[in-house]
């Protein structure tokens, strides 16, 4: 028989174990509640995170039907999160991209895990296609998903920027490829960092063939000090160098002339060197050299001709001055025969005429030769008076009168002997070619016109036919009259004198009415 005590103990034990069980059950139960609560929180967190990331998260089943989108889709494509559920993903892909994407989709179905990136255009709610970049994660065998996870983002803007960068890079590249100038980038140490494709055309080097070589290797040794000096100066001072001409070695070992200008871009992190722009000037250089030789030859020829004219004029002048001296010293009163006297008279006038001609020619030589002839302010009135006084007898003999008006412009900056020569030549011409039908009247006046002083000289002589004469009148040895004293030099001489000082002379004439000369002087 079991004792009460034992029964009690048993009962107590049972109760105790019951309590234990209850306690255990209780404990177990409370654990489960926490776990469930925890799980609920965790799901909520995940959902929050997923809805707030910047990429679209999509779940697609193996038929391609959309079963889930996170809320981000609203911001990017405009759809509500649930709006596309049940739609086939290919429905919304741009027709042109459909084939590729459907192939891709079929391919990834057989593979588990993360797939490569894919790009396609996807129709947004507004109907506008956006460029989407997507990465797929196949989780068809994962019971938690039984789907393909697509993480997608809009790359429309990014692609636009990329494309424009690409285009501008392409543009720059083709620009550099197609320019005829050679662009070279040289480091501070003189090493060639870059050379444009034009180097090939001009120098025969392949693009970048000269890279890592020092520019001193291709500069002509004679030109090197000059180039080096310019190089150092540019590194020190920055900015842009002066245009420098020097010779470069081409691939065939020949030197050719280039003209180069460099900019210091050492502090530009994209360049870190000197950008040298060089241009082939060998043709120009050759032309320059030819020109130089030509000028040298011409200068020499001109000098020789000048010397020749001086010698000729001297050789003619020396015996001629003797003749004039002798004829002047000859006492005509001692000649008794009429015949000899007549011949000597002819000898005398011929000699003087010859002498005047030669003197005129020498004057021209001097005018043509003198580059810097002195000018000063000269009074028109004074110069004219000097000439009229010296040929006063000629005026009375030929019944010639002069009226002048210099009130508008009294002075001119000119050479005095030249101005006198102008008056002298014009007046003697007027007298020589006067009309026998009327008194000879010469009128001279000046006026200021802009930055010029205009002198108008008019006579009422026999004139000439402008059609015949035109611009020949100021030429050498152009005679338009059969006048015995005409030497065809006077107008040529004054034309030379006027133009040598920057002025101009023109003529107008009417037969039997008169001639007008218009002379413009620089003020």
């Amino acid at each position: 028989m079991k004792s009460v005590n034992t029964i009690f103990t048993d009962t107590l034990l049972k109760i105790k174990s019951r309590f234990q069980l209850v306690k255990e059950i209780q404990e177990e139960y409370s654990d489960n509640v926490a776990e469930i609560r925890e799980k609920k929180y965790s799901d909520e967190r995940t959902k929050q995170i997923i809805d707030n990331i910047s990429d679209i998260v999509t779940l697609v089943n193996k038929q391609g039907i959309i079963i889930y989108n996170n809320k981000t889709i609203k911001q990017i494509l405009g759809y509500e999160a649930e709006e596309l559920n049940g739609r086939h993903i290919l429905e919304l892909i741009h027709p042109d991209d459909k084939v590729i994407i459907s192939e891709k989709f079929n391919n990834i179905l057989t593979k588990e895990g993360i797939d490569k990136l894919a790009e396609f255009r996807f129709c947004s709610k507004s109907g506008k296609y956006l460029l989407i970049e997507s990465i797929g994660n196949v989780q068809l065998n994962n019971p938690a998903f039984n789907a393909i996870i697509l993480i997608s983002r809009d790359i429309t803007e990014k692609r636009k920027i990329e494309d424009s960068i690409k285009a501008s890079e392409e543009k720059l590249r083709s620009l550099i490829h197609n320019i005829t100038d050679i662009i070279t980038i040289i480091s501070v140490s003189g090493e060639i960092i870059y050379q444009s494709a034009s180097a090939r055309q001009l120098m025969g080097y392949e693009e970048n063939e000269l890279q890592k070589r020092n520019f001193s290797e291709i500069v002509h040794p004679d030109d090197f000090p000059l180039v080096m000096q310019s190089f150092k100066k540019l590194i020190e001072n920055g900015g842009i160098s002066e245009l420098t001409e020097f010779r470069l070695l081409d691939k065939n070992g020949n030197y050719f002339y280039i003209e180069a200008q460099a900019t210091n871009q050492i502090n530009n992190p994209n360049i870190q060197g000197l950008v040298v722009n060089s241009r082939d000037i060998s043709i120009r250089k050759k032309a320059d050299q030819e020109k130089k030789i030509l000028i040298k030859e011409l200068t020499k020829n001109n000098y020789d001709l000048k010397q020749f004219s001086y010698i000729v004029s001297h050789n003619l002048r020396a015996p001629l001055t003797n003749l004039t001296s002798m004829i002047k010293l000859l006492d005509f009163n001692t000649i008794s025969t009429e015949r000899s006297l007549k011949l000597l008279e002819g000898f005398r006038s011929t000699t003087f005429h010859l002498n005047e001609t030669l003197n005129d020619l020498i004057d021209i030589l001097v005018v043509k030769d003198n580059i810097s002839i002195q000018t000063e302010m000269i009074s028109f009135e004074k110069s004219l008076n000097k000439i009229t006084k010296s040929i006063h007898s000629l005026f009375t003999e030929t019944n010639t009168s002069i009226s002048s008006d210099f009130s508008s412009a009294e002075y001119v900056k000119f050479n005095e002997p030249y101005l006198e020569s102008i008056f002298q030549n014009l007046i003697t011409n007027s007298i020589r070619y006067r009309s026998i039908d009327r008194e000879t009247v010469i009128s001279i006046h000046t006026l200021v016109k802009g930055d010029e002083i205009i002198l108008t000289y008019t006579d009422n002589g026999i004139g000439f036919d402008m059609k015949q004469v035109k611009d020949k009148i100021f030429g050498l040895h152009q005679k338009f009259h059969h006048h015995p004293e005409s030497r065809g030099i006077g107008l040529y001489l004054i034309h030379a004198q006027i133009t040598s000082l920057g002025g101009n002379i023109s003529v107008d004439s009417k037969i039997n009415i008169g001639t007008t000369f218009t002379i413009s002087f620089k003020k």
Binding site: Y310, S313, H314, R317, A318, P319, T321, N322, T324, S325, M326, K328, L329, I362, L365, V366, D369, N370
Partner: protein, 141 residues
């Protein structure tokens, strides 16, 4: 009137004309006519060998520039170098038919050239020289 004038010119016509003009103007007692610069130098060479009282040094030299062999410039260079002792006693006038400005400028700058006359020599030139104080003092007349 001057005692002596030297005429250096290869052109005998010039010599003749100068002689007539100077004689017409009663310019000098005697004229030494020499045909080039070399002859002129030889004259000075000879005179320098004589005792001073016997020397006949011209007070005036008319010097042509363009002469064969030994021209006016050659003469001047040599004369400047070798006959400094005559420089005070003799004046040199360049008488040339050269009209180029270079010759005239060169003559104008030359310290030994007293005057530059372009040919032909005319009575008025001689008249002017006669009025020149330099010759008035030298002239014994």
């Amino acid at each position: 009137m001057l005692d002596m004038v030297m005429n250096v010119d290869d052109d005998s016509m010039v010599q003749m004309i100068s002689e007539i003009i100077m004689s017409d103007e009663s310019f000098c007692e005697s004229i030494v006519k020499l045909e080039d610069g070399k002859k002129a130098l030889e004259y000075f060479e000879q005179q320098s060998k004589l005792p001073i009282e016997e020397q006949k040094i011209p007070e005036l030299v008319f010097l042509d520039i363009n002469m064969p062999i030994f021209n006016g410039w050659d003469f001047l260079t040599q004369y400047d170098k070798d006959y400094k002792k005559f420089h005070d006693r003799t004046k040199i006038i360049v008488l040339t038919s050269a009209l180029d400005p270079e010759t005239e400028m060169k003559a104008g700058e030359h310290p030994l050239i007293f005057k530059y006359i372009t040919k032909p020599l005319e009575p008025k030139h001689i008249a002017q020289l006669k009025e020149d104080p330099l010759f008035k003092t030298v002239s014994p007349s």
